[in-house]
């Protein structure tokens, strides 16, 4: 079996007695796009938040590149090469698009206790930032203040920020959330362009996108991972049909 980059063992998290993550086991193999799907309230965002360090689990273990990171804070995980995007766009609205991406580059360019040289003139920050914006098709919007761009462009900016960190594992929390079909198609394009280059954990509602992109899919229902497999296997799986795809059909 190929290299496992992220290994989740028996992860458990409850909110007031309700298990949001119920003993989940999951792994991401290097280079694959692993999608996590599930109905609303299945605990997908809760899961990703525990992997990124924004939420502390109650039990279980998270291993990243062979290291136990279960209790590591968010910023050390980011430095280790774990990048996430947020379901609800999380950017610095006051700064320009390229400032946002450059901050992501800067986070991995040594410490930032550098008080004197202008950051916006540092080519070692600006060039990779521009390259990441180009990858998601935003290079001509680089110097627009982030507040003033469309929702779809915010979503693309999220991806650019994650890419600029040159992460070993990219965790995307519903990158197509709230997008129109044109924007969604664009995003699928961007992500399929990255397929094979980046390991990805993808949480997504848009089934067409998931089945088009994913190498493997894990289905989460009420905090439990009920199945993992290739898109074909998931499509054939009886439990999944009953618990999830059936719901959608009805």
């Amino acid at each position: 079996m190929a290299n496992v980059i992220l290994k989740v063992t028996d992860l458990y998290k409850s909110f007031g007695g309700v298990a949001a993550t119920d003993h989940v086991n999951l792994d991401v193999i290097e280079g694959e796009i692993h999608a996590v799907i599930g109905p609303n309230g299945a605990g997908k965002t809760t899961l990703i938040s525990q992997l990124s360090g924004d939420l502390a689990p109650d039990g279980g273990q998270v291993e990243f590149q062979g290291e136990d990171i279960t209790h590591a804070p968010a910023w050390t995980r980011a430095l280790m090469g774990l990048a996430r995007s947020f379901q609800i766009t999380s950017i610095v609205h006051e700064l320009t698009m390229i400032d946002n991406v450059a901050l992501s580059v800067q986070a991995h360019a040594g410490h930032s206790f550098r008080f004197w040289q202008p950051a916006r003139e540092a080519t070692e920050l600006q060039e990779p930032a521009l390259a990441a914006l180009r990858q998601v098709g935003l290079e001509d919007r680089a110097h627009v203040v982030s507040r003033n761009v469309s929702h779809g462009e915010h979503r693309q900016l999220e991806i650019a920020m994650a890419l600029a960190a040159n992460p070993s594992l990219l965790m995307l929390d519903e990158p197509m959330a709230g997008m129109g079909s044109d924007e969604s198609a664009k995003m699928v394009n961007i992500l399929s362009g990255l397929k094979g280059q980046k390991s990805m954990l993808l949480i997504e509602h848009d089934m067409d996108a998931v089945f088009a992109l994913a190498d493997r899919i894990t289905v989460l229902v009420y905090g439990r991972a009920i199945a993992t497999g290739t898109p074909e296997e998931i499509r054939e799986n009886e439990d999944v049909r009953k618990a999830y795809l059936g719901d959608e059909a009805a």
Binding site: D54, V92, N100
Partner: protein, 326 residues
Amino acid sequence: MLNISSWNLRSWVNMIVLVLLALVPVLVSWSGNEFYLDIATRLVILAMAAVTLNLILGYGGMISFGHAGFLGIGAYAVGIPVYHEIYDGFLHFPIAIIGSATFALITGMICLRTKGVHFIMITMAFSQMVFYGFVSIEDYGGDDGLVIEARSEFGGLFDMENNTTLYYFCFICLLATIYIVRRVVNSRFGMVIQGAKGNERRLQSLGFNTYRYQLACYVLAGAICGFAGALLGNFTSFISPEMMDWSRSGELIFMVVLGGTATLFGPLLGTTAFLLLEEYLPHVIDLVYKGGGVYWQLYFGIILILVVLYMKGGINGFLSRREGSK
């Protein structure tokens, strides 16, 4: 910057304020009224404090309600040695900087674990602790304050006893502070600080330990403000705990907000407007309504409320908008 043809209204106003400030001693010697030099020195020192407050409040989003505490620590760093007949400025100013930086480090480590209203309250609480600390030290005058008999000496380099020299020293320090803040804000460090103000959680998920950066920013602002406090101690020749009361911190916040937060010259414009209003509003009111000047603070309050309500971005924002509508 010096390409005049591209200057907008805002740059012109900033430049005029700076030039007028640079010329104050000349204007004073013409008019022969020393009093204006007094106002101008106070203005320049308080503007310096406001610029440092703007670094944490405006750019960093850390609303400190205890900034006057640093002014007080700096002033006592001059007052106490002078009381013990130590007049060396090369000692006073380092004590002021190190003292206020240490205070900022220790209190910042605790304050920055909180956010929002809690941060405001805890910074205020710490500066009130310093306030009551100095009130309780009878040796240095307690709440009666302390007379500073002589100004800091710089080994014959320049003579601070001369009011004009003191003024220019303060003015140069103000310019240096503005320059330092400008460099810091645009540096990598500054980008992290501004990013953390806008979206701290995001900065953490990018890989920044925002706490450390904010703490460093808080210490830097505190240290420079302590330096300004040492200038204030030299200038006033009388210091008391009252100068670090929380209402003083509130005034500093107002100067920053009045001028425009997170802008380079906003705090200077705000301090200028604040002190000019404080000084001349009573006379103006008397002209309009004889005897009304006594109640100037009422009108002052109304003006401040109107500015907050209707002048988004303060004076700086107002000037930018005028530019845009032209």
